[in-house]
């Protein structure tokens, strides 16, 4: 797998999201220092609101799933799987993400792509 270095840990905001351009794809990166994985990356595009805004949503947990709520119409997208909790058919692309020596690395291609119905 090829990794994309999008910056350092200082570019992230704890318990919130930022957006990076990876291979011309907009990727929303969420930093949760208290969780096991600590960093999550999903597509920044909200297929319901049709705008690149998910990095600006609020992070939360719904029945144990870590999610981001779209700032447009408030649907929840699971950070780990990309699934939309309200619309079963929608799955966002999910990218591998990790922090290594203070750098934030994102996989160049999404690891899960399920067709968006």
């Amino acid at each position: 797998m090829s990794w994309h270095n999008i910056g350092t840990i200082d570019d992230l905001v704890a318990n919130s999201g930022v957006c990076a351009l990876v291979n011309n794809q907009q990727v929303a990166i969420f930093y949760l220092p208290q969780s096991k994985e600590s960093v999550f990356a999903i597509s920044n595009f909200d297929p319901i609101g049709k705008a690149n805004v998910l990095s600006r949503g609020i992070i939360g947990s719904i029945e144990g799933k870590l999610v981001v709520a779209s700032p447009l119409y408030k649907q929840h997208f699971c950070l780990a799987t990309g699934e939309c909790l309200e619309v079963e058919a929608i799955h966002l692309p999910v990218f591998d993400a990790k922090i290594q020596d203070g750098n934030v690395l994102i996989s160049a291609e999404p690891k899960i792509i399920k067709a968006v119905a």
Partner: protein, 858 residues
């Protein structure tokens, strides 16, 4: 039940797909294979015309290959079947592939009938049926000025709407003397024609087209049998559908005289191992061209193949729809063919509507109805007919406008057997069952029963049934903020204050559950913390709690861009400042709109532009307007005694003082104020949370009004107050509201829920009955003393400024935010316009050029 029977389905339209789902549900072992002729899998044909509103093929798709994989269903697309060998039970396709079956299901659908008119096979003579057809229509319309639809039935009028939306001069030609002859009577058809013509579509009835020849002023000329003619560039045939029964012929199954594969109540053809469903099937000499009966057949077939006993017993062909913006409904025996039936007609030439109900001989049962121009009564009428319910004593009340005697059939009045959703065959009993099973809101009932997810026509009725059912169970309302905090907002505020809690994490650790919170509790607690301690909301401990509007100190718009609203206290602004706003808007190409709160909204700012824009505004002396926050918006004012002949106090000066006092105050919801200089009330203060009206002797104070979705007039709270007392009372009312209101509760609702209402509020604020007034005032003092412009702080702090980057690793702008010009300003591009713009951009071959463009935009 056989454990692994081989089921082969030919055709993957809406009905074929529904069968696959139903079959899989009732038998998880069956070996299911689908042969689909087209490249696209099943899509929603009911909403086909929404493609012209920017919907894509993906939006309409009902399923995907992945979805079928998950269901363990084999799919083969672009496989046209040529032969069926009934003896060895094998199907052969055009490519020579062979598929064996135990049971074969034909769901081949129908095709549009093109009347045998000479010249009907030329380019620009099209049909309206599939996604591919729409592409052809679009392409042809681009090279045409006018279009004719041949056929004035339901589909024909929908097709007319489509070509009208494409900007063509639109005509409809109908052979019969009226439109929608199947569903409407003559009067209804005539009214529909008049209404449609008013909308700019020309209707020609009683016209038989004899030939299509080359036109003089247009591409074609239609010659009619009566000697008249019509010139046009595009012709759409919509003269009904014909069953696609070719495979029935090939397999030598019994067919109807005029086509259609004959089926019995079990959906079996003359070969019991071959079933037919949907528009290719002929039941009791009838074809069914609607989706609901097709779905019904799919359910019957699935039941038959899994040992069930469901039978098809015909279908109600009632329809309600909106054609070219005109509401049309047809129920049951619309043509009053039942012997000795009676008709009741309501005709309103002013509101331009026509309603007819058809009753049985004794006038106590409904047999049918025709509605044109107003279909509000459709749901109720349909329920009367379907459930064979006794009509009220004066059945005319069912169609008279706002009739007091009309019984409400919503929800509780219906019997459990009443069908609510005919597409998915969901009865009221099923809905009650879903609620019994734990579905406790509309969304849960929808996903559990699938009701209202077909044509959607029953959505309103479904909601009323669900609401009535939930209400009758007295569904418990708890005021817990969310799953992470089992407390009300008021209780949380109390904890924050008493225990001196300053961060969300602290509160969550001490009184909440889990580690993360959610988008409900985070902003609510951010607001509590701000109301109590007034720390900068973009500090690291608070930044993740805020709604996007608070985080970026601006209002997000639908495309992800933001609007910028500088504070213009009291609506007073100098010419120099106006020029600054204009210049900033010009430099950043922002859309300008004057708001109802007497200030100026600048739209279309990109995230990365916000700090630069605000740098300019702050330099010119502006402050943030808090248009993004749950906080004071504006204090509106009339011009007052300074200029006005009638004014008795300086309302503008007063409004400015008040706006400056309460600006930045975070509260459970936004709030607005206004000051009027005299009793004429030009500032509309009585529609505000806090309204102030000048009198000869001082000020009258009004509280807890609002406009918006549910307007409420403010209540008169106290009269003839001097200025210090007025301020004291406002301090106390607002702080008491902040301390005791629920999250996102406006002052009006707060007041209505306050036990004791206005009198109680007066006793707390004026008589200090709770002994808390000093505390309320001190808290307000702390907030007003610690006010700071959030944008000034954000622009000055490098850490906060970093938040306003679109990408942490690139200076590029978001390429999905695109604008077009309208009335000399920008507006967001529609999806279609975006695609066009991106296509043009993609033609730019050199990479550097794209980057250069990006820099200019950034």
């Amino acid at each position: 039940m056989q454990t692994s029977q081989k089921i082969l389905i030919i055709g993957n339209g809406m009905v074929g797909h529904h069968f696959v789902e139903q079959m899989r549900q009732s038998d998880d072992k069956a070996n299911i294979t689908v042969l689909c002729g087209e490249a696209n899998l099943a899509y929603d044909r009911v909403y086909l015309s929404s493609v012209f509103d920017g919907k894509t093929a993906a939006d309409l798709a009902l399923t995907t290959l992945e979805n079928y994989q998950q269901l363990n269903v084999n799919v083969h697309t672009q496989q046209w079947v040529e032969g069926i060998d009934r003896v060895s039970k094998v199907v052969t396709t055009q490519t020579g592939d062979q598929y064996p079956y135990d049971k074969l299901v034909l769901a081949t659908g129908s095709f549009p009938f093109v009347p045998p008119i000479k010249g009907n096979d030329q380019p620009h003579c099209l049909v309206y049926r599939t996604l591919e057809d729409l592409e052809q229509i679009k392409a042809s319309a681009a090279a045409s000025k006018s279009g004719v639809v041949i056929g004035g039935g339901l589909l024909g009028l929908e097709a007319a709407n489509a070509i009208k939306q494409l900007g063509l001069d639109t005509h409809v030609v109908e052979f019969a003397p009226q439109l929608m002859a199947v569903q409407l009577d003559e009067q209804g058809g005539t009214l529909l024609k008049n209404k449609i013509e008013k909308l700019g579509v020309t209707v020609h009835t009683s016209k038989a087209t004899s030939e299509i020849v080359k036109g003089e002023s247009s591409r074609f000329k239609l010659n009619f049998s009566d000697g008249t003619f019509l010139e046009t560039d595009l012709i759409l045939f919509s003269a009904g559908i014909r069953p696609y029964d070719q495979l029935g012929k090939v397999a030598e199954l019994e067919l109807g005289e005029r086509g259609g594969i004959i089926i019995n109540n079990r959906c079996q053809t003359s070969d019991p191992d071959i079933l037919a469903i949907g528009e290719c099937a002929l039941w009791d000499k009838k074809l069914f061209g609607l989706v609901a009966p097709g779905y019904n057949m799919a359910r019957v077939a699935a039941s038959q193949l899994s040992g069930g006993e469901l039978e098809f017993s015909g279908a109600d062909m009632s329809t309600k729809l909106k054609l070219l913006g005109v509401e049309v409904g047809s129920i049951g025996d619309a043509h009053a063919k039942t012997p000795n039936c009676k008709e009741l007609i309501y005709q309103d030439p002013i509101r331009d509507c026509y309603k007819k109900i058809i009753l049985n001989e004794t006038g106590d049962k409904l047999l049918g109805a025709v509605l044109v121009g107003d279909t509000r009564d459709y749901d109720t009428l349909l329920q009367y007919m379907l459930n064979d319910m006794d009509l009220p004593e004066h059945p005319e009340c069912l169609i008279l406008p706002d009739s007091a005697g009309a019984p409400s059939l919503a929800g509780s009045a219906l019997p459990d057997t009443a069908t609510i959703c005919s597409c998915h065959n969901v009865s009221k009993g099923d809905i009650v069952g879903a609620i019994d099973g734990g579905s406790c809101d509309l969304a849960a009932v929808k996903s559990c029963t699938k009701a209202a997810s077909g044509c959607g026509g029953c959505a309103a009725l479904l909601k009323s049934v669900v609401d009535a059912e939930l209400a009758s169970r007295g569904v418990e309302v708890n005021n817990h903020v969310c799953e992470h905090f089992a407390y009300s907002r008021q209780e949380l505020l109390h904890m924050v204050k008493v225990e001196s809690i300053k961060t969300f994490d602290d509160l969550l650790a001490k009184h909440g559950s889990g580690h993360h919170g959610c988008e409900i509790c985070k902003p609510a607690i951010a607001s509590i913390l701000a109301s109590t301690w007034n720390d900068f909301i973009l500090e690291p401990a608070h930044v993740g709690l805020q709604d996007t509007n608070d985080t970026y100190l601006a209002n997000m718009q639908k495309d992800g861009s933001y609007s910028v609203v500088p504070r213009i206290a009291g609506g007073e602004i100098t010419p120099d400042k106006l020029i600054v706003i204009g210049q900033v808007a010009k430099d950043f190409n922002l859309y300008c709109k004057v708001t109802g709160g007497q200030r100026i909204d600048l739209f279309g700012a990109r995230l990365e532009e916000l700090p630069v824009i605000w740098g300019r505004l702050i330099e010119a002396g502006f402050e943030t307007g808090h248009a993004y926050g749950k906080s004071l918006r504006t204090v509106k004012s009339c011009v007052g005694s300074t200029w006005c002949r009638y004014g008795v106090q300086d309302s503008v000066g007063h409004a400015i003082d008040i706006e400056n006092r309460y600006k930045g105050l975070r509260s459970p919801h936004k709030f607005k104020m206004a000051v009027s200089g005299c009793t004429r009330e030009c500032a509309e203060a009585q529609s505000k949370d806090i309204g102030i009206i000048a009198t000869e002797n001082g000020w009258n104070l009004y509280v807890c009004g609002n406009g918006g979705m549910r307007p409420r007039h403010a209540d008169l709270f106290a009269t003839d107050l001097d200025t210090p007392t007025l301020i004291k009372y406002i301090d106390r009312v607002l702080m008491f509201y902040i301390k005791t209101a629920d999250k996102l509760q406006r002052t009006s609702v707060w007041m209505e829920n306050l036990e004791g209402g206005l009198d109680y509020l007066k006793s707390v604020v004026i008589d200090d009955s709770l002994g808390i007034c000093q505390e309320l005032e001190e808290q307000m003092e702390l907030i007003t003393q610690t006010y700071a412009c959030e944008w000034k702080k954000a622009v000055e702090s490098p850490e906060a400024s970093k938040r306003f980057r679109q990408f942490v690793n690139s200076p590029n702008p978001d390429d999905n935010i695109l604008f077009v010009q309208e009335r000399n300003q920008i507006r967001p591009a529609t999806d279609v316009e975006k695609r066009e713009q991106k296509m043009t951009q993609n033609r730019i071959p050199v990479m550097e050029l794209e980057e250069e463009q990006a820099d200019v935009l950034a």
